[in-house]
């Protein structure tokens, strides 16, 4: 299978049955990695700014490729809606091998919001993959950072908040990951009711930070791409200290 020009050599399944792909271990030359996961909402409501979302991912990747830690970054990007379920833009692969222009036309809006399933998928896939690499003695140290970007409240998931909460507790206890940070980004979340729902989601599952972007604009999404890349790179730099990156605390829109 080829995703964004990269061969997805291995297919695996998480404990809740989510499929994810990854490159083979012989391509992993370093001993420590930062696992970065992005789960992007592609429901019908993002249609007006779909190209800005693609541009945000592209910008983010361009910046990450310039990171001094680029050889230590493994990323997986997914997109979710009820029509496609959870669609991998690319499985776990080295940032270095991804083509930033590969996101073009990947965002195909439609369906309803399966936010909980997508959140559980990205968390479990990182835990599962990192644990496998650790158990097989391919990596000796790792940390992770996850971004869940949504413009809607869940209305189409199979799994519940309690399932995600358990997965987060599990990943925090995982021996393979020194630290993990989970950030929820709300797009077009100016509506107080929706904002409250996202805040409830954050508290309910134990997400580290909720970043409210307010009304979306191309400029704000470009800024988000920059902030994500900066925090991923900084998370990787903090590997070995036992602490997560502090950069996400400065996210402001």
């Amino acid at each position: 299978m080829k995703l964004m020009g990269v061969d997805a050599d291995q297919v695996a399944q998480t404990v809740h049955g989510f499929d994810y792909t990854s490159i083979t271990v012989d391509k992993l030359g370093a001993t420590e990695y930062t696992f970065a996961g992005i789960a992007l909402d592609i429901t019908t409501s993002v249609a007006p700014f779909k190209s800005s979302l693609e541009k945000m991912l592209e910008e983010c990747l361009i910046f990450l490729k310039r990171s001094p830690r680029v050889l230590n970054l493994l990323a997986r990007t997914t997109a979710f809606n009820s029509s496609v379920g959870i669609n991998e833009f690319h499985g776990f692969t080295l940032i270095n091998s991804l083509d930033p222009t590969g996101f073009k036309n990947l965002v195909q809006p439609g369906g309803m919001t399966n936010l909980y399933d997508a959140t559980l998928d990205i968390i479990e896939s990182i835990n599962d993959y990192a644990t496998k690499l650790f158990d097989d003695e391919v990596i000796v140290n790792a940390n992770g950072i996850i971004y869940i970007i949504t413009d809607g409240d869940d209305n189409s998931s199979q799994y519940q908040i309690s399932d995600i909460k358990k997965a987060i507790e599990k990943i925090r206890r995982a021996e393979a990951l020194e630290s993990i940070q989970i950030i929820l980004v709300g797009i077009n979340d100016s509506d107080p009711h929706f904002k409250q729902r996202l805040e409830d989601f954050q508290v309910g599952v134990g997400i580290d930070k909720y970043v409210s972007m307010g009304d979306v604009s191309e400029k704000k999404l470009a800024k988000l791409g920059g902030l994500i890349s900066q925090s991923v790179s900084s998370t990787s730099s903090s590997l070995g200290t036992g602490n997560p990156s502090q950069d996400v605390n400065s996210f402001k829109f």
Partner: protein, 280 residues
Amino acid sequence: MVDSYYGIGEGHLVCQDYALHGSLDDMEYVIISDGCSGAEHSEVGAQILCHAAKYHIISCYQNDLLKQCSSEFLVKVLGNAILKRVDEIRKIYPINKTALEATLLIAIRIGLKLYLFIWGDGIIIENIQINESRIIKVINIDYENKPFYLVSDKNQYMKKWGMRYYKEQNLWGIKNKNSDIIIKDKEMSYLLPFYEPYIYEKDLKENDNSITLCSDGILSFKDENKNLVDLLTIVNEFITFKTIVNGFVKKRMFFMRRKIKNKNWSYYDDISTGTIIYEL
């Protein structure tokens, strides 16, 4: 595939071991060195010895000497060339000649040929795969007192000590696929002249899996009751690689250190080790 590792022992303040590895066309090599604990700056000596050895191994390979000459001839050519180079380098620093009192263990694989050249003490581990079982051969080159290093002067030794011998202890173990331990099969010891480097040459066969070199730090492992851990048990930890990827020796050592820490085991001596996996 080839990799190496070196690290400080729990009873040391400075790591006096060093290791490096590399490959070039159909050649792979591992070089390790253990600086004499009583010699000042032997950690520098160990590093100089490894890098000088690397330089001359590559040079011999590029000049086809490794393929054309006997191992007896090679050990002399390599030994003299390395000695000359390290003496020049240590004068530039400058550091005392005693800083070069360090072992030098070299493993070179060229195609289907394996050469080992060893000055001083250390451990050799051969891993042979037969069906689902592995035969592990361990050679422990053991000196009663100070080892005879590359830099050691034979005449001075003879004058001081007369004719001496060192012990070559051979252990064979068998490890079955589903077992975590190596069962000791037999043990033999030989006495060899004190002042000669150890030479080993082998035509590799399909069953040959890997060769590992270790400094004597592998003999310093103690269990939670402070008893020395059986050599075959530790050997098993050193060579049971779960995944053969870049840095596989370093990764194995990382996980082994974690495991022994959890078991309250300890090791006081520095460790240097390197493995060549043949992939024949």
